[in-house]
């Protein structure tokens, strides 16, 4: 939701980044304020997921230009774990499996690390167990998940719910959901969306990276951006998503090229 007195959380100017020497992001601009929900859409290979990983600090990506301010601070001065502790959260498109590490231990380690960063109380295993079970109920998650290894043997949908559970635990300022809808059946999509909606408030912001309109039926964005070739080429309200659903991306691209030609 757009609020009048909202604070700017994320300010990206002219962001360029490469992976294995190939330029993927070519001058990306976006501003996200607290309370807002943004959707970034666009065809495969347009750089949506790269943008998400660059923000989180994945070492495979090299930033070659531009700037990113997170709550007014230079994001690139922070190590990936410091970004996370500062409140930047990425729900992974393909959550990684960590055999041998119990999900409950992982979640508690993560929760307590972030709590400690903010000088807040850390929870012992018993206290944490109560706390996490409550959050799991929000997502209609089976409590068996706690005893299993992190993401190991989880179905696609279970992995995505586990991501949103972590979001619920860490209560980030800015949550980037990278294709969280892919691999979810319609029931799971509803549950995950409800979870995200409950977590959204006027102090945080959500960026949804997605291919499909269907997620946006459940989580209604304030802004829809279209990415192409490493840039955002169009930004509009939620109605843009519906238009993309019926007309595809080509017309946005053509419109953009025409506009560029007249400059």
């Amino acid at each position: 939701m757009i609020y009048q007195d909202s604070k700017t959380l994320l300010e990206v100017h002219g962001l360029c980044a490469t992976v294995n020497g190939i330029e993927i992001l070519k001058g990306l601009d976006i501003t996200v304020k607290s309370g807002e929900v943004h959707a970034i859409m666009g065809p495969n290979g347009s750089g949506k997921s790269t943008f998400a990983k660059v923000l989180a600090g994945h070492t495979a990506y090299e930033v070659t230009g531009g700037s990113v301010l997170f709550e007014g601070k230079n994001l690139f001065e922070l190590a990936p774990e410091e970004r996370a502790r500062a409140g930047l959260f990425l729900a992974f498109q393909y959550p990684i499996e960590i055999p041998g590490v119990a999900n409950s231990e992982f979640l508690r380690l993560s929760y307590n690390t972030v709590q400690a960063q903010h000088g807040r109380e850390e929870l012992d295993p018993l206290e944490f167990d109560d706390f996490v079970r409550e959050k799991m109920n929000l997502l209609d998650m089976n409590h068996d998940f706690l005893g299993r290894s992190v993401n190991e043997g989880f179905s696609g949908g279970e992995k995505k719910r586990n991501e949103i559970l972590q979001m619920a635990l860490l209560a980030p300022r800015l949550a980037i959901l990278d294709e969280t809808d892919s691999g979810l059946d319609i029931d799971a999509l509803k549950i995950v969306s409800q979870g995200v909606n409950q977590l959204a408030n006027k102090d945080n912001a959500i960026v949804l990276v997605t291919h499909y309109q269907r997620l946006l039926n459940h989580i209604v964005p304030d802004f829809v951006h279209v990415m192409e070739a490493g840039r955002i080429i169009k930004t509009a309200g939620k109605e843009l998503a519906l238009e993309l659903e019926t007309r595809g991306y080509d017309w946005v691209s053509a419109e953009h090229q025409a506009a560029m030609a007249t400059v």
Partner: protein, 478 residues
């Protein structure tokens, strides 16, 4: 990223100091006179000298094993001193008579010898170079009939027991290093748990090599009579020398009917430096004989030290329904080499064995699991389950699994599972994205990987093992 991982596992070795103490060191070299000298120093009976000389003759005819997946220059057995002992009174009446320098050494290593300061509930025998310097709680254990003392003392005080069991599980000519040990062994621990007695506390031996260019050849013998049970712990460290030191121990366990022996090791001998210079050659023969019906022998080992480890704690399952277990974590880094595993020899009916092996290789190290499961023709209904997992850190380390399975009874059931994994950049990034730095992430992954083995360790040791892995992981992170 793998550079970060390398830093994480390049831990400083905290036990590398040398104690400045007056020692009685034998001249280098080995012949019959050396053996007679050792035997005379210990006032040994004639039968033991004969045992030694017979072993020496067998050893002379043997070749070093060439099959392990380890590489090192040929050892010059004449360049080693076979006896070193701190100079002090020959017999100690109480702990107060122990050289204060020795007490300080062991306190520095975290092994307090004063009983009032000792960990509650653990009796400790301490071996410094070639001799046992102290045994705690000896008298308290004697009240329930348990004998816990140094091997040298057992030879003099309980010769009938030593003679009855010594060499019955690991024969003198069993292998090259066992034969050498049988010829020149100097000290070690002796435990005897009489019929029906459950040992009221954990027994522990702490081994320390101090003198350069000496070998440590200890001999441990544990006997649990009918219905007896004992949990035994072993820890080892050595100073950091640039030369290699030889450690060739033999451990024999005997479990009679319904007896239970649990043997746990945390091995942290000096591993050499980051270029592979120095370190202990750890060539050890450990074997248990589950002789009686329903007996159980369980080995748990955490192997983090030594330049080379060659070690296969094994169980001969002779009694019907007997149980053998082997739980192992072996961590290698830099240029360390480990070839370790177990042998489960099923002879009796309905015998069962479990093998859980976890190998972690970092740096340029090489870590091999080698295990034999043999089901004899009479072992009807025998069962074995083996699980061998390897974890690689970085891209220059190696892991191998060499399972040998021989089944001669068609009612037996043998299962073997193996896996290899790698701590990946993406796993560390996942942790980082949840606020957890690389050091804590690697620690969580490795502890998770080793959990099935750590659970088997007695409480005090589980803490030590976790800390030891923590030390291995201590390092500079970004």
């Amino acid at each position: 990223m793998s550079a970060v991982l390398q830093d994480l596992v390049n831990q400083p070795y905290k036990h590398g100091f040398v104690t400045d103490i007056d020692s009685d060191v034998a001249p280098k070299g080995l012949d019959e006179n050396t053996i007679r000298m050792i035997s005379a120093k210990k006032n040994e009976p004639e039968w033991l000298l004969e045992f030694r000389l017979k072993s020496y003759q067998a050893w002379l005819k043997m070749e070093e094993p060439a099959w392990p997946n380890v590489h090192f220059p040929k050892i010059d057995f004449q360049a080693i001193s076979y006896y070193a002992a701190p100079k002090q009174k020959p017999t100690l009446k109480s702990m107060d008579e122990v050289d204060p320098e020795l007490l300080r050494t062991f306190e520095k290593l975290g092994v307090p010898l004063h009983e009032r300061m000792a960990l509650a509930g653990v009796a400790v025998d301490v071996i410094f170079d070639s001799v046992s310097v102290a045994t705690t709680y000896k008298h308290k254990l004697a009240e329930v009939g348990i004998i816990f003392c140094s091997m040298s003392e057992a030879v003099l005080e309980h010769p009938e027991l030593v003679q009855k069991y010594l060499g019955t599980v690991v024969p003198t000519g069993d292998n090259f290093y066992a034969a050498l040990n049988s010829a020149v062994f100097t000290d070690g621990s002796f435990c005897f748990i009489p019929k029906g007695v459950k040992c009221p506390m954990d027994l522990s031996t702490y081994f320390r090599i101090n003198t350069e260019e000496t070998g440590q050849f200890e001999r441990t013998l544990i006997i649990a009579e009918e219905g007896a049970s004992v949990s035994y712990l072993e820890g080892c460290t050595a100073p950091a020398f640039s030369s290699n030191q030889l450690h060739a121990a033999v451990v024999e366990l005997v479990a009679l009917d319904n007896a239970d022996i649990k043997y746990s090791t945390v091995q942290n001998w000096y591993a050499g430096d980051e270029n592979g210079v120095g370190g202990v050659y750890n060539f050890v023969t450990k074997r248990g004989l589950a002789k009686g019906v329903n007996s159980r022998i369980s080995w748990t080992q955490v192997e983090t030290g030594s330049a080379i480890t060659w070690k296969y704690p094994s169980v001969i399952l002779r009694g019907d329904n007997s149980v053998g277990e082997f739980y192992s974590v072996a961590v290698t880094n830099n240029y360390q080499q480990a070839d370790t595993g177990t042998k489960m020899i099923h002879i009796g009916k309905n015998t069962r064995s479990t093998i859980v092996s976890k190998g972690i290789s970092a740096g340029r190290s090489n870590n091999s699991y080698r295990g034999l499961v043999r089901i004899g023709s009479a072992a009807a209904g025998a069962r074995n389950y083996s699980q061998c997992d390897s974890m690689l850190i970085g891209d220059q380390s190696g892991a191998n699994t060499f399972p040998y399975i021989q089944v001669r009874n068609n009612t037996a059931k043998v299962e073997h599972e193996a896996s290899t994994s790698k701590i990946g950049e993406d796993q560390l990034f996942y942790f980082a994205q949840r606020g957890v730095g690389a050091e804590a992430a690697v620690s969580a992954i490795i502890n998770g990987f080793c959990k099935a083995v750590f659970q088997q360790l007695p409480m005090e040791f589980a803490v030590e093992a976790t800390q030891l892995l923590g030390l291995k992981l201590e390092g500079s992170v970004g």
